[in-house]
């Protein structure tokens, strides 16, 4: 499955890109996160939420192939 992923805020600074498409054979969001954590080890120190097809999802959610977004909290004002 080819999965488009969007990165926001500090997460995009770590991945050094705003979006990418990765080929992935797993079925769940947490499996995708494990892959991303090994690709970008710095992700581990950062909290974020995951959205799939523009809706926030839990890590136990099954991947559908639709767009994933990694969303960190912002504090600035």
């Amino acid at each position: 499955m080819r999965i488009p992923i969007k990165y926001f805020g500090l997460i995009a600074e770590i991945t050094k890109c705003q979006e990418e498409t990765i080929s992935f054979s797993g079925s769940f969001i947490f499996e995708l996160l494990e892959t991303l954590h090994s690709k970008y080890p710095e992700l581990k120190n950062n909290g974020f939420q995951v959205a799939q097809d523009r809706a926030l999802v839990t890590v136990e959610t099954r991947l559908t192939g639709e767009e994933i977004a990694l969303l960190p909290p912002f504090s600035g004002g």
């Binding site: 969007k6 926001f8 805020g9 500090l10 705003q18 769940f28 947490f30 996160l33 494990e34 954590h37 090994s38 581990k44 120190n45 950062n46 909290g47 939420q49 959205a51 523009r54 809706a55 926030l56 839990t58 890590v59 136990e60 977004a69 969303l71 960190p72 909290p73 912002f74 504090s75 600035g76 004002g77």
Partner: protein, 355 residues
């Protein structure tokens, strides 16, 4: 005459203007976001506007905090903003609170207003504002920025999602830097703050679609806007309501420190009264049989919380430390707070047991 251009909009009219003039809005923080919010709400004729900010105007603020000028340097921001806004509109009531919002003064203050707008610049205040809005049942118009990106949402509106439904726990203080460390282009808080003012007016007027249950993400470099759906977590909100009696006893600075989630296996061995949870799937190897382990795959954890003894400290592990970290977040979401993630994966745990 002053409000003619908005009154002639059929969606507003004289009745809408009356609603605006009766509204009471509290803006937390008169900084990058607070300035445009305050400016537009004052100009629109919001009847009562409160401004709370303990900080003073510095030269480095002027690039984006457009209510202030050279003559405001060194003045308290709430008071300097009030002075400028009273010149902009002398027909409304503006109240300045030149001190820090905290757990002791928030509820009394929020009770006096209809809508709370968050223009603060730190997580401690954002979580305080969210929880106080839940306890006083006030809608919260949220905005936050990071470099060239912004987020906007409306929380706690007509029983909708709260900030904690989006981000349940406060990040570690050092994890996310702020504007003064990172830099920010002045127009970004101008855009995001204006969007917040827009949401405030929509709520008051009852027009359009309010950003409740949704998070708007804006990127100033690409002009891309993404709206994500947020699911309300009844449990999260209930936990805040349930802890109402504790609220005013909380101290802002103490609250900045969140409990650490991860620990090394080497620090776990000497602990007593603990339980280990293996959150891997049943077929994953190597198995650990040198101590008692409860096996609950991450996907099933939420439905098998009864297997977890609340009298013991809980230590989760998996193959690499990633799923177990998520498991700890799941447990803490369900108010099981004495749980930790073992940083090492199963093979490393076995290795350290052999030493």
């Amino acid at each position: 005459m002053r409000y003619n251009r908005q009154i002639i909009l059929s969606e507003i009219g004289p009745l809408g203007q009356e609603k605006i003039s009766k509204a009471k809005v509290l803006v937390v923080g008169a900084g990058g976001l607070g300035c445009p919010i305050l400016q537009y709400l004052t100009a629109a004729g919001i009847g009562t506007i409160g401004i709370i900010d303990f900080d003073v105007v510095e030269a480095s603020n002027l690039q984006r905090q457009v209510l202030f000028g050279t003559s405001s340097l060194g003045q308290n921001k709430a008071e300097a903003a009030k002075k400028r806004l009273e010149d902009l509109n002398n027909t409304i009531k503006i109240q300045a609170y030149p001190y820090k919002l905290n757990y002791q003064n928030a509820l009394d203050l929020f009770h006096q207003y209809d809508i709370i707008v968050d223009g603060s610049d730190n997580f401690e205040t954002r979580y305080l504002v969210n929880d106080a809005c839940i306890l006083t049942n006030k809608p919260l118009v949220y905005g936050a920025i990071f470099k060239f990106e912004g987020q906007v949402s409306v929380f706690n509106y007509q029983n909708g999602a709260s900030y904690r439904c989006l981000f349940p726990n406060m990040p570690k203080k050092e994890a996310v830097p702020n504007c003064s460390q990172l830099g920010v282009l002045g127009v970004l808080p101008g855009i995001i703050g204006s969007m917040q003012a827009n949401e405030v007016l929509k709520i008051i007027l009852g027009i359009g679609t309010v950003l409740s249950g949704k998070l708007l993400c804006f990127n100033a470099l690409t002009n891309e806007t993404l709206i994500l759906r947020i699911t309300k977590s009844e449990k999260t909100i209930f936990a805040i309501l349930n802890a109402k009696d504790e609220f005013h006893k909380t101290h802002l600075n103490v609250d900045c420190k969140t409990a650490p989630t991860s620990i090394s296996i080497n620090d776990v061995f000497n602990k007593k009264n603990i339980q280990f949870i293996d959150v891997r799937e049943a077929d994953e190897l190597p198995k650990i049989d040198l101590f008692d382990v409860v096996e609950i795959p991450l996907g099933e954890l939420e439905h098998r919380l009864d297997k977890i003894s609340l009298e013991k400290e809980t230590y989760c592990f998996c193959q690499s430390g990633t799923r177990s970290e998520q498991a700890v977040a799941v447990l803490r979401k369900h108010n099981i707070t004495n749980c930790y993630n073992i940083q090492e994966g199963a093979s490393e745990i076995i290795q350290s047991l052999k030493v």
